[in-house]
Each structure stands twice: as C-alpha cells, then as structure tokens.
Subunit: 191 residues, 2 copies
C-alpha cells in the first residue's frame, strides 16, 4: 500500500513538472533530465511510469482534460446572463497555466498521426459543444448559428491568448474581453 501511494505521488509530481516544462519550453526541447530535475524524481523512474517521451506527452494531456472540459459552475444558463458565464469560462481558460500548454501542444497535435491528435481534437470538440449547447437555447441574430458561434468564441479566446502570450505588455485582456462581450451580446436577439 505504502509503495503504491509513493508510486502515485511520483507519477503526479512527474506529470506536473512535465506539464510546466512542455508549456515553457515546448515538448521537443524538454528532456527526461529536465523533468527529473524539476520534479525531484530520479530520471530512471520516468520511463518506468510512462514508457517513452510520447507516453509522457499523452499522459500530461489526459491529466489536463478534466480541468479543461469541466469548468466549475455547470452549463451556462440559456439566457443572456449566460453570456457572462461563457465569457468567464473563456477568461478562466485563458489564464489557466494549462492553456499555455494547450497552445504549445497544438504544434504537436496538428499532424493526423500525432499521438495526441485525437485527444486534442476531443478537447476542442468538448469546448465547442458547451458553447453550442448554450447557444441552441437562445434566439440568435441573423447570420449566427450555434455552431458558428462556438467556433468563433473559442477561436477568439485562442487567438487573444496567443497575442497576449507573444506580447503580454501590448495586449490588454480586459479591453479585449469587454469588446468580445459586446460582440457576443450582438449575436443574440435581445429578449
């Protein structure tokens, strides 16, 4: 029992360190030696837990799925107040350390034969589905569809995040989100 618990703790420490390092340096630049140093777990035990580096990558993404797909607070309310909740979730996502990882891993996920392609797609699907389900309960302005809204709002969140990450001192997140709020309200018909 004791040994099992220690093993679980080691696994957890390795995953946390790897997620940080992948987000900071990128996947390819991160070595087992880096992960060992950051986690305090010996280098030799990393393959014991995860096999190769790809196994570690897949495990890191699996580990973060819960946090990305199940934000606290349930589905947004099917009325205009839901706008606030959708935006809060978007902002929360944007400020999560995980999002940095999520953006960094895009480059690994984009090839169809990538070991994380399917899981990455499933996470994006899940995020779009939340917005789409919310929008399906609302009267939408002309030209707006629940699916189109899901792609556009997730897209804006991803794209604002990337500009901010590249030049944090030039991107005012509050200003961008205030604009997105007004644009999102403009996509709904006032009831």
């Amino acid at each position: 029992m004791r040994r099992e618990q220690t093993s679980r703790q080691s696994r957890e420490l390795i995953l946390r360190a790897a997620a940080e390092l992948f987000a900071e340096k990128g996947y390819r630049q991160t070595t087992f030696a880096d992960v060992a140093e950051r986690s305090g777990i010996s280098r030799g035990s990393i393959p014991w837990h995860f096999g190769g580096k790809e196994g570690l990558l897949v495990a890191v993404l699996e580990h973060s799925v819960q946090e990305l797909l199940q934000p606290p607070g349930g589905l947004p309310r099917a009325d205009a107040d839901g706008v606030e909740q959708v935006l809060e979730e978007a902002e929360r996502f944007l400020r999560l350390p995980l999002s940095r990882l999520f953006v960094t891993l895009l480059i690994e996920a984009v090839e169809p034969d990538s070991p994380i392609h399917d899981r990455y797609v499933a996470i994006q699907d899940g995020m779009r589905a939340r917005i789409q389900t919310w929008a399906e309960g609302l009267p939408l302005a002309e030209g707006v569809t629940p699916r189109g809204l899901a792609v556009t709002v997730l897209g804006a969140t991803i794209g604002i995040h990337q500009q901010w990450r590249l030049t944090p001192d030039r991107i005012d997140l509050d200003e961008a989100f205030a604009t997105l709020r007004t644009m999102l309200v403009g996509a709904l018909i006032a009831s």
Copy 2:
C-alpha cells in the same frame, strides 16, 4: 549579370520551398536536404545564400511580410461597409498558404530570444493597426474600443484558422465568418 540573375532565382526557389516545408512539417523537422529536394537547388548552395537554418527562417518570414501586411485594396472604408472589407481580409489571410506558415512559426517566435520574435510581433502589430485605424473612424458600441476590436478580430481569425487546420472537416469557415460578421456589426453603432 546572368550569374546574378541565376543566383536571385535560386534564392527565390529556396525561399518558396522552405516556406512550404516549414508550413507542412514545422521548422525543426525541416532539413537542408528537404529544402534541396523540394527546390531542385543543390544542398550545398543553401548555406551560401542564407548562412545557417536560422538565417533561412528569418529570410522566409521577411519574404512573406509584404503579402501579410499589405492586402490588396487599401485601408478599409471608415463606415459600416468597411466591415465587409475587414472580413474579406480576414478570410483571405486565413486561406493564404502563408497563414499556415504563420501559425506554425508562432511556436518558434514565442520565445523572446527567438531570431524571428521581433519580426513576428511586427507583423501582428501591423495587422492590428489596420483594424484599429479603421475602427477609430467609426462610432463604437458600449464596451468596445478600437484596440480591443483589433485584438478580438485578429484573435478570432487566428483561432478559427487553427481549429480549421486541426479538423478541416468539422469547421465550416463560411458559417464561422457569417457569425463573426454579425458580431462585428454588433460592435458598431448603426449610423
């Protein structure tokens, strides 16, 4: 003269091949041998033109700056019709083969000491400046600022592009842009 022309042509062929390969495989996965094969120019002459691989990367980005920053058609008109022009530019950007490169290179550009960091930032700045200048001539809805609009519209374009690139068969670009159009109109005060 003849030799100079041949040299310019070789340079051009190498740049074009490298841009395609960086967009397809990523920068790190591309070798001089790949570039030689794709361009038909001998492997040995690539360093003669560009020095190392970083020199080639910088040259590829420089080469694409014009096309990214000066879309045909001048600045968008300072009225609601400008919405169509802004969206046309966004869609045009999204469908350019160059954009694929632009997204792939983000991962190289994000570190402040990257050789392309400053140039990449300058391209994003230029794109935001076009939208911001356009929006400064328009009455904007509450909560919307020209700068916020620039970050949000460029962000939506980047983020829609990335979802589409990851899962082209699940993302309907026309649907997403129709939604973005209505949202953008909602950010302006009808005149």
